[in-house]
Amino acid sequence: MNNKIGRRDFIKLAAVGTAVTTVTIAAKGNPLPEAEETSPYRWAMVIDQAKCVGCGECSLACQAHNDTRADAPWNRMIELEPLNGEAVYAPVPCMHCENAPCVDICPVGATYHRADGIVMMDYEKCIGCRYCQLACPYGARTFNWDANTAENTAVPEWGEPEIERRPRGVAEKCTFCFHRIDRGLAQGLMPGIDRQATPACVAACPTGARIFGDLNDPNSPVSLALAKYPSVRLRNDLGTNPRVYYLPARREEEVVEEGVS
């Protein structure tokens, strides 16, 4: 048995190795993400817990417009400890983190940042490994364990589906209703101000507890609200920099009745 590699063999092998590497790199282009296209907008949401009454209409509007399952909502309504005898609620959508753990770890890049900061899902790329469910600190992601063939109970009362249902075997989550934002901007509307261009949950909120807008615009509804009230972001200690802000529940007399916009 000859176990020795001759000089010729080594050179042949090295040549083949180099060729394979070169072809791979040439075919792939630069493996590092390309410089992001820029966007003038930086979308964010503010949820005013002093105004939220926990009616859940935001969740229903979301279920109708995004055609989600009733038992796996993108926007969860959670009841917290009462304050001064009054119930306190926390509606929890995707936080659209600036440093999103799910974007970092998705093995195929199926979840990614848009230039305007929205954390998106590419349902055509997702392989359904569910690593993102382990990585998300906010439990914002749901998985399609089977094909969703059920009737959407929120339709038509709370709206009509505006995006396609996701297939079996992929992860999904809140998208800040990117389709409403994009469609609205194309029509010359401003998300956060014009209802049709604003995420369905914000448009549906009967008490004005949800505010949406552009953080880059100092006069946007979100910028004004954040300038006026102290706000918190969930698990800020993790360094994720969520783009969903909460105005904590305050005493009755502190609530400004006319809202902030």
């Binding site: 048995m1 000859n2 176990n3 020795k4 590699i5 063999d9 092998l13 792939k28 493996p31 590092l32 796996a72 959670i78 917290l80 400890e81 306190v88 926390a90 929890v92 753990p101 970092d104 770890i105 998705c106 093995p107 195929v108 890049g109 199926a110 790329k125 997702c126 392989i127 359904g128 490994c129 569910r130 690593y131 469910q133 382990l134 990585a135 998300c136 600190p137 906010y138 439990g139 992601r141 749901t142 998985f143 399609n144 364990w145 089977d146 094909a147 079996r168 075997g169 992929v170 992860a171 918190v232 969930l234 698990r235 993790l238 360094g239």
Partner: protein, 417 residues
């Protein structure tokens, strides 16, 4: 030369039939899953990684004997281990196919298994694992092909192809280099897959990558020696050199002590970080649902007992104790992978400021998961049995006597001679 257990002449057909039956049951369960979706499993949005991931992690870790022994033989010149490396390579090849079968079952879109090649996210440890597993599987395939080519029935039927396949063997040192590189990368990155997740405090630490590679090398060596010994015990077509297995086993014993030190401090040191979610997870491990697994399965039976047996010449050379120690070391590795995967998912820490109680979850695999898992394991056992019978994967007789340095290699007492 080897001690044999005389088997009834129907032993092999019965053994093969039982395994084939388990494989058929597993296939039926797999078809159920493919038809209905993962909804038929007990996995949930809170516990999305279960039994199959546990088997996948264990199979990859227990395959680590292949790269360790290939490196020892072809890079560090430990020639007397060559027949053992041959066994390890075959076991590793089977282990990686088992892991890939489990992953194919586990992902929601098995039709997109190739996406990691086409769509890169170089920041994802799981992407790196996927790429390395594919590259390393290619290496293993190239290492296994000469074994197939050298089989006498293959040589008789396809002499030219046999010669070709045998020719690949001269690249063994190159393959060993690639194997070492890819394995060090992805065996560690499997730990890092968990270790980078800040959302799960009990996982979030750099030491997971170290523990995964160290435990994989130990488990992989243990399984290689164990499968060699079992093959030699039950099959007429397998024979081993007990002096070689004895020496490797002693090394495994000392490595187990090192691993015990790492695992012990790495786990119990977490008590002092007082990090919400981490402390709760630790308590599940040390006094909660996983406490038996941790103290008995991992530390006592999985590390301490086999370590003592394997480093003590008297105990190690008692054939039954030797086998027991190897079985325990393999079981300890499986217990570690299982505990690690599950413990982080049993505590979903609250992200809401006023909810300080963490959310506890539970998971028990469904019958379909168990059947698929058993089917995959049965496939591995059957393939190894056939490998012993028809591919000579456990055969130390080829080793020339003069390669062995008697002073180091020969134990004082050889009970089996």
């Amino acid at each position: 030369m080897n001690q044999k257990i005389k088997l009834h002449r129907f032993a092999f057909p019965v053994w093969a039939a039982v395994l084939a039956l388990l494989m058929v049951a597993g296939l039926a369960a797999a078809i159920t899953v493919f038809i209905n979706g993962l909804v038929v499993t007990n996995l949930t949005d809170l516990v999305p990684w279960g039994l199959w991931i546990g088997i996948d992690l264990s199979a990859i870790a227990l395959s680590a004997g292949a790269f360790t022994l290939s490196a020892a033989v072809y890079l560090f010149g430990w020639k007397q281990l060559q027949p053992l490396a041959r066994t390890a390579v075959f076991v590793g090849f089977l282990g990686y196919t088992m892991a890939m079968l489990c992953l194919l079952m586990d992902i929601g879109r098995p039709d997109r298994f190739w996406h990691a090649i086409a769509f890169w996210n170089i920041h994802s440890p799981l992407w790196e694992v996927t790429m390395c597993v594919m590259f390393y599987f290619t290496v293993l395939l190239l290492e296994v092909l000469p074994i197939v080519g050298e089989a006498s029935w293959f040589k008789a039927r396809w002499p030219k192809l046999s010669h070709r396949l045998h020719g690949i063997h001269k690249y063994a040192p190159v393959l060993a280099i690639f194997g070492l590189g890819f394995s060090l990368l992805h065996q560690s990155s499997l730990g890092a897959t968990y270790g980078v997740l800040k959302a799960r405090p009990i996982w979030y630490k750099p030491s997971l990558a170290v523990l995964f590679i160290v435990s994989a090398v130990i488990g992989g060596l243990s399984l290689t020696v164990l499968s060699s010994k079992l093959a030699a015990l039950f099959s007429e077509r397998a024979n081993v050199r007990d002096d070689i297995l004895d020496k490797v086993s002693k090394v495994i014993g000392w490595m187990l002590f090192g691993y015990l030190y790492l695992r012990f401090w790495d786990t119990l040191g977490m008590e002092y970080t007082l990090e919400p979610g981490r402390t709760e997870g630790l308590h599940i491990l040390t006094s909660g649902a996983l406490a038996f697994n941790f103290w008995i399965g991992e530390l006592l039976l999985g590390i301490l007992v086999p370590a003592i047996i394997l480093v003590t010449a008297k105990l190690r050379r008692e054939p039954r104790l030797h086998l027991l120690a190897l079985v325990l070391a393999v079981g300890g590795l499986v217990a570690y992978r299982w505990d690690t995967n599950i413990v982080g998912q049993m505590v979903a820490f609250s992200y809401l400021p006023t909810q300080l109680e963490p959310l506890y979850t539970a998971y028990k695999p469904a019958l379909v998961e168990v059947l698929v898992g058993l089917g995959v394991i049965a496939y591995g056992l059957l393939a190894f049995t056939l490998g012993v019978r028809y591919l000579n994967v456990v055969d130390h007789s080829t080793l020339p006597e003069e390669v062995v340095e008697p002073a180091i290699m020969q134990p004082a007492v050889m009970p089996t001679d």
